[in-house]
Symmetry: C2
Subunit: 117 residues, 2 copies
């Protein structure tokens, strides 16, 4: 694990592990917002908000663009998709295994088999 480069999913899940950053993503999922609009409902300094925004941007979940004096932030959906897909694939794999287990239990249950031992 020497020289390990964080994978996109490391950065995405790390970014989502913070409640303030999840609030920011939640706000941006409703449409673009300026940094001050993002900061408005949050009980923290603008500089703390900017730091959270930097983590979100480094993860690729959010991008921002400065026009004049206003920096506008918006969701980048690809990384959100990748994170969702990783989880749903694990869940699907777990559920398939559970289905196979259920089928096996029914097959081997002596009370549901035509032949009893």
């Amino acid at each position: 694990m020497l020289n390990y480069q964080p994978a996109p999913l490391d950065l995405a899940f790390q970014a989502l592990a913070d409640p303030t950053r999840r609030l920011m993503v939640e706000r941006l999922s409703q449409g673009p917002a300026s940094v001050s609009e993002l900061a408005q409902p949050l009980d923290m300094t603008l500089s703390a908000v900017v730091q959270h925004l930097a983590v979100l941007e480094a993860s690729g979940l959010v991008r921002s663009q400065k026009v004049g004096r206003v920096r506008t932030c918006r969701i980048e959906p690809q990384v959100l998709h990748s994170a969702e897909r990783w989880i749903s694939e694990r869940r699907a794999s777990w559920e398939r295994r559970l289905d196979r287990l259920g089928a096996f239990l029914v097959e081997t249950d002596p009370t549901t088999r035509p032949r009893s031992k």
Copy 2:
């Protein structure tokens, strides 16, 4: 944010932010495994694996049970579901907003409107 108690989603996303822990979840999504089975494909000490397992258990993604000398680990699907749902709701919200924006652009596009200005 003083005395902040980590929310379940904080712990879940934090647990998933590490590639080793994602490999462990991936293995367990295929069925229960002992700690040594979990450790076998990983290039690290057993004690490092146990530490990763502790993070996974604290998040509620995995639980383990020791019977005799063998600790068996398995997926707890509820937390995986919550994490997936949080992301999919944000994505859905973002897509609805995009749909509304699309409809608005079509409605206000002078080339598709019956009346031109």
